[in-house]
């Protein structure tokens, strides 16, 4: 592999996640983008492409709105939408442009305003009280099916993904899932950019409001506002930059995006397992590292039930062994494979399109040795994972610079 084939993150920034009543999506995207540019030591004049995502307003052209806020240079913009994998998709798009040799620097941005958004995915087809039952839609339904034929709301969908894992392999319980949440909330107390930095006891988590068994409220990802952005370039470009830039640059050893291949039942309950496993396998091969070499992992814990299955899907444990793996303490910040030391989506928060870049920011922060109180000592390799239902999965493996 030559230097021009290598991809580096030169600059990256996330905003504080939480409630930002005085900032709109453009303000937040601009804060993250200008932060990433400054971190990279480049300006909009250097950037050759923007890939941007804002899922809840996917038709609004957030990329061009951002240009009008921070610099209109006439470069191509790709506005992307890929559910909760939107941020990773934006980054991957910028990486592909750099890798293709079309541009020197690519800027990826993800932003969301989600405070107070409530349940996502729920409600289905809106229908006025009909006078006469009239079949409509692909299933010829005479009434909304959400709540009558299963659930379309995310907490229940991911609850089933967790109980399905228990059905296949055993070892799961309400208490086990709650303990995963206890870990992430404890981790969040060290992260000043997390939406919530509140430690919960196991009892508090289990006795909180039940949303969809076994997920109580603190076991669900926190809807909040936030943005994240990154500047990427190739190794050849990096060589021409200052020692300081080279020292802080983070190598993207693997960048993979997958969708779910057909399997029995995958159109009935989304199968978030196979596409994650496929993405991870490809990423480990691209990077030439194995799961045991990871110093930290940020994975898509949109619900406590989801974190468990991804221990297995990312091959951090033996197949079927996720419950035992967690019970050994491996995924706490002092364990063998720290997972979600940022606090994860449950406490750091989940501004959808920002998440896929924010989790990469977290890994970079540790690889650069800049994570302060929550620094994982001597972190050299990390993995960031996101999944968007529908489905799309992004996995990035990142390595510390040798410079």
């Amino acid at each position: 592999m030559t230097a021009s084939d290598e991809i580096w993150i030169l600059g990256i920034r996330m905003t504080k996640f939480g409630k930002h009543p005085d900032l709109d999506t453009v303000d937040l995207a601009a804060e993250a983008a200008t932060g990433a540019l400054a971190d990279a030591g480049v300006t909009m004049a250097d950037v050759g492409v923007i890939a941007a995502g804002n899922l809840m307003a996917a038709n609004a052209g957030i990329g061009q709105q951002l240009q009008k806020q921070i610099g209109q240079t006439g470069i191509p913009v790709y506005n992307v939408a890929n559910a909760c994998a939107t941020g990773a998709t934006a980054l991957r798009t910028a990486i592909m442009a750099v890798k293709a040799g079309e541009v020197k620097y690519g800027l990826a941005v993800g932003v969301e305003k989600l405070s107070g958004a409530g349940l996502l995915g729920a409600g289905g087809r809106k229908k006025a009280e009909a006078d006469v039952w009239a079949p409509a839609g692909r299933y010829g339904a005479v009434a909304p099916v959400d709540g009558r034929i299963g659930t379309e709301a995310m907490p229940g969908v991911f609850a089933q993904i967790g109980t399905e894992y228990g059905h296949k392999y055993g070892g799961t319980s309400f208490e086990l899932f709650a303990k995963i949440s206890e870990k992430n909330h404890a981790h969040s107390t060290l992260n000043p950019l997390a939406a919530y930095q509140k430690k919960f006891t196991l009892e508090q988590i289990m006795n909180d409001v039940m949303i969809a068994y076994p997920n109580t409220r603190p076991m669900c990802s926190a809807n909040c506002d936030g943005a994240a952005a990154a500047v990427v370039c190739n190794g050849e470009t990096l060589k021409s930059l200052s020692l300081e830039q080279r020292r802080r640059a983070v190598k993207v050893s693997a960048s993979v995006l997958t969708t779910d291949p057909y399997e029995d039942g995958c159109q009935v309950l989304p199968n978030v397992n196979t596409l994650t496993r496929n993405a991870a396998a490809t990423a480990y091969e691209q990077a030439g590292v194995g799961p045991s070499e990871l110093d930290l992992v940020e994975l898509h814990d949109c619900f406590a039930t989801a974190e468990l299955v991804h221990y297995d899907n990312l091959m951090l444990c033996e197949k079927g062994g996720a419950a035992d793996f967690f019970n050994t303490g491996a995924t706490w910040r002092d364990g063998s494979t720290p997972v979600n030391v940022s606090g994860g989506l449950q406490s750091k928060g989940h501004p959808i399109a920002a998440t896929g870049i924010a989790n990469i920011w977290e890994i970079c922060h540790h690889l650069r040795g800049e994570a302060g109180d929550r620094q994982i000592e001597n972190a050299k390799v990390g993995l960031a994972h996101v999944i968007g239902l529908g489905s799309a999965c992004g996995v990035h493996i990142l390595e510390k610079s040798a410079a």
Binding site: A141, D146, G147, I149, Q160, P214, V268
Partner: protein, 132 residues
């Protein structure tokens, strides 16, 4: 007797006892509950309508206690393995709590009335109930 209409078109009420139907790929046997131009698994384009087994096993569930406005809670959402065909459905005629709902429990298809419209047509919903 008043006319009946099923909640969805893959619930069959007028051909023997109530049952679900699926579109089965003639080439690989993959089953879908709505139309496909080609099979998602093997891309073949011919399908045949088949009945789905009315008994099955709960392979995933959740008890939803917080839902979108207008959806009565609690309810039990689940995926039932009906002799190899995965079916999304509510579990009904069972207490919606973790003491009464377990993964692996045996269930069977059941129907229930959803109400009658101004023309006198009764809508019929379905779910799965414990098979004792």
């Amino acid at each position: 007797m008043a006319e009946q209409i099923p909640l969805v078109d893959y619930l069959v009420l007028d051909d023997g006892s109530p049952h679900l139907i699926a579109q089965e790929c003639k080439a690989c046997g993959a089953r879908f509950f709505d139309r496909r131009n080609a099979c998602a698994g093997c891309f073949a384009t011919e399908f045949t309508t088949v009945p789905v087994a009315t008994e099955g096993t709960v392979r995933a569930f959740t008890i939803v206690t917080f839902a979108a406005p207008g959806i009565p809670t609690p309810f039990v959402a689940s995926v039932v393995d009906c002799d190899g065909t995965q079916v999304r459905a509510n579990l009904i005629n069972v207490e919606p709590d973790p003491e009464h709902v377990r993964d692996g429990m045996k269930v069977r298809l059941a129907t229930y009335p959803m109400g009658t419209d101004s023309a006198g047509t009764e809508a019929i919903g379905f779910g799965f109930e414990p098979a004792t």
